[in-house]
Amino acid sequence: MSSASSIEQFLRDHEHSELLRFSTAGSVDDGKSTLIGRLLYDTKGVYEDQLAAVKNSRINRSTGEFDLSLLTDGLRAEREQGITIDVAYRYFHTPKRKFIIADTPGHEQYTRNMATGASTASLAVILVDARKGVLPQSRRHCTISWLLGIPHLVVAINKMDLVEWSEAVYNQIRADFLDFVAPLGITGLVFIPMSALEGDNVVEPSRNMPWYDGPPLLEYLETAPIDKQFNFHDLRFPVQYVVRPDLDFRGYSGQLASGVLRAGQRITVLPSGRTSRVRSITTWEGDLPEAFAPMSVTVTLEDEIDISRGDMLVDPSRMPHVSRRFESHLVWMSDAPLAANRPYLLKHTTQTTGATITTLRHRLNINTLAQEHPEGLSLNEIGLVEIETARPLFFDSYQLNRATGAFILIDPVTNSTVAAGMIAERKEENQAADLSAALRTDEFSAGRLTPAERYARWRHQPATVWLTARRDLAYLLERRLFDRGCLVHAVVDDFESHVLPELARFSNLAGMIAICSSASDDPEGRARAERLIGADRFLAPDPERLNVDDSTAAQQIIQMLENKGILPVDRFQTGEGI
C-alpha cells in the first residue's frame, strides 16, 4: 500500500466490514492455541514485536520453528501450567469482517468459562483431535454452544497430518458427531478437516486433502450468514436510563434488544401497560426514521408516561411473556452450590429483582445428555429449574430471543455472579403437573371447580378489601396485585354502592380478590359485606391508619393480606430495588 487512494480504499472496505464473534474451546493438547495462533498469524493479526517475543521464547511445545500457541497464552499461572484458564478475547480482521474470538478452556472444571465465551458468540468452532475422535470435551463444547443458542457450529477436525490426511478418519468422526447431536436437534453442522500446525484448511486450502471440497475455516468464517444474530421481529426496548437535560426533553435511552423501532410507531410500556407513539428516535447524529437491534438510541414519546429504568417498550401486537414464574436452564458458576428457596438477585435486561429457585427439575449430564435428579447443582453443572421472581419479568424464551431470554443470578451477600440462566419455552404439561401436584392432598371431584383448583391456578385466596373514598388507591392496589400474578378486580363507586357487598361476594366466589371503594363512609354496607363474605376473607383497614400516600397504603394492605394468609408471603418485597 503506497498511494493515498489505496489507503482510502482500505478505509472504505474496513468501514463497511461486519462484525462476527465466535468462540473456541479446548486445551493446548488439541491444538486450539495453535489454531488461533495460525489464524492471527496468517491474517497478519500479530504484531512483529509480539512475534519476535514468541520466536525468542525458551518455550516451544510445537515441532515447528516457533510455537504459535504462545501468541495466545495470557496470564502467568497459565504460562506456568501450560493451560488456558480464563476466557481470553482475540481480534483480527480481513477485508470482509472483523472477528472477535472468545477463546475458552475445554476442561470440565471450566464449563462456566466456556458458557461465558459462548454467550456473545454467533458461531462456535468445536475442536476435535483427529487421532482421538469425539471426546467428552468436544461433546461438552457442543452441548454448551447449543444451550447458549449459537446459530452456527463448525467442527474443526484438527491434526489431520497425524492421521495421514485420511478421509476415512474424517468420515468416522463426522458420523460419530452427528450421532451425538441428533437428540439435540442440531442441524447444519459444518465439518472441516485441517492441520493448524501445517496451515492446511485454516486460511489456505489444503493440498494434502483433495477429497475435501468445502471451504477452509477462514473462508467459512468470512461468509457464514450473521443475520440470525438478532431477532428483528419482536420489538424489545429495555429502558436503561432516562435523559432529561431540560423540561422540554424527556428521552428513554437504551439498546434495542431485538426488533425494529420506527418513528410514529405505537408502543406499549411494560409493566404499566400504557400505550403511546414514538415521537422521535434521537441520536447524536440526528433523529432517525428507524432503529434496529443492537443500536443504542434515545426514544421520546408523544404522551407523558411515567417510565423508568427496568421498564420495556414493546409492540402491542407482539408482546413478550409477563410473569413472575418460569422455567430456565442454569449454568451454575459458583463454588457454593445452588440452594433452593434461598434469596438471589436476578438481572434480566435492565431490571434487577429478587428471585428464588423453587424447584430443580433435573440436572443435565453434559457428556451424555442424560437427565439426572440430584439434590442441588454444583460449580459447572447445568440444570433445568423453576424460578420465581419478586417482580414480573418481560421475557421471551432464550431460543427465540437471546437478549430477553437471558439473565444472571447474583448472590446478594458475596455479590458474586453465581449462575447464567436461559429461559425455557413455557410448556403446558408443566403447568398441568403443577396443578395436579397442588391438588394431591385435597379432595378433588372431576366435575365442578373447587376452591383448591382455583388456588392452585392463582396462588392466592379470594378476599374482599373494603376501602372508603380511596378510588385511586383501589386502582393502584389492583395494579400491584395484578403484577404479582393475582386475579383481581377493583369495584369502585361507578357501581351503585348498595350492591357493593353482593358484587364483592360474586367476585370472591370466582376466586378473585375484590377491591371495593365506597364513595363515602357506609358502616351498614361494610357490615353486610363482612357477613356475606366471612371475617377471614374480609379486610376493612381503618381509614385513620392507612397512609395518605397511595403507594405506601397499597404496600400496607398487601402486608395485611399476607398476614391474613390471603397472599403467599413475598420475601423480596422489602429487600429488593437495586
Binding site: 478505509l11 481470553a88 458458557a115 436503561q240 437504551g254 439498546q255 437471558a406
Partner: protein, 308 residues
Amino acid sequence: MSLAEPALSSRSLTHLRALEAESIHIIREVVAEFERPVMLYSIGKDSSVMLRLAQKAFHPGKIPFPLLHIDTTYKFGEMIQFRDWYPASIGAELRVHTNREAISNGANPFDLGTQKCCGLLKTRALLDGLALGNYDAAFGGARRDEEKSRAKERIYSFRDKIGQWDPKNQRPELWSLYNARVDKGETIRVFPLSNWTELDVWHYIYLEDIPIVPLYYAQEREMLVRGTSLIPVEYNYPLLPGEKPEKVMCRMRSLGCTYCTGAIRSTATTLPEIIEELVSFRRSERELRIIDHDQEGSMEVKKREGYF
C-alpha cells in the same frame, strides 16, 4: 414479514457502529447503576474516543460524570495544553490529581527507575485520586488487544478495597449483563473500549473527526537518538557525555510520560497516513512503553497492584 418490510440483511451494522452501540450501552449502564462514576482521562487517543462515546450516550444531555486526569507532572507540554482545552470545550468537567507528596519527596523517573516512579506517580496517585473522590466506578480506555493480560480482563473489572485486581477470581461476564454489585470501598473499573482494536480506534477518529493531541502527527522534533530509540527531550532528561539532541521527523504512537514514551520515525502527517503506517508496520503500540517490559508479565503485575 410483510412485503413492505425491507430485507433483513439490510439491517446490519458495520463493525464500528456495532462496537459503538456496545460501548454506549456500557457507559449508560454504569451511570444508571453506580452512585459516583468517573472517567479516567489520559489525554490519549483512546480517551478522546471514550469521551466522544460518552457525549453520544447522553445526547442531548451533558456527560453526567467528571473526568479525572492523573498528572505525573512528566507529561508532554502539548498533552497538558490539549487537556486544558478539549474537555472544557465540550462542556465536560475535568479534575486533576497528582501525588504531590511523592513529587515533593523528589520522585522522578531518572533517580527512582521507571518501575518505582510509575508505582508512585501513576498507580498510587490513581488509587488515592479514586478514594479522594469516593468514586465507585471508573471508566478506563484500555483495550483487550493492547497486551496479553488485558485480553482476559472483564468489561466490568472488580477491584477490592485496596484497588487490587485478582485475575484468577474474576466474575463471570455473560451477554451484556454486567454485575455492578460492590460493597462499600470496593470499586469497578469499566472498559467500554474492551473490544476495540488500535485500528478501530484510529478509524473511528478518522470517520468522526475527533480532535487528538498533535503529538500523534509527524513533525520535526528534538530527540535523543540512542540506537533505534528516539527519546523526547523534556524535563531535564540526563544526557550522556557528548550527547546532543537532533531534529528528527517523528511522531508518538501512544502517549505517556515523556521519559517512558519513545517516538517512532514517521512522515505520517494525516490520519489516513497514520492508519497506512499502522497496517503496514504491524508493530504493537505498547512496544515502546518501557513499563510493559520491566520484567516478564510486567503489565499483569502492575494491574494486580491497581494500575489500569
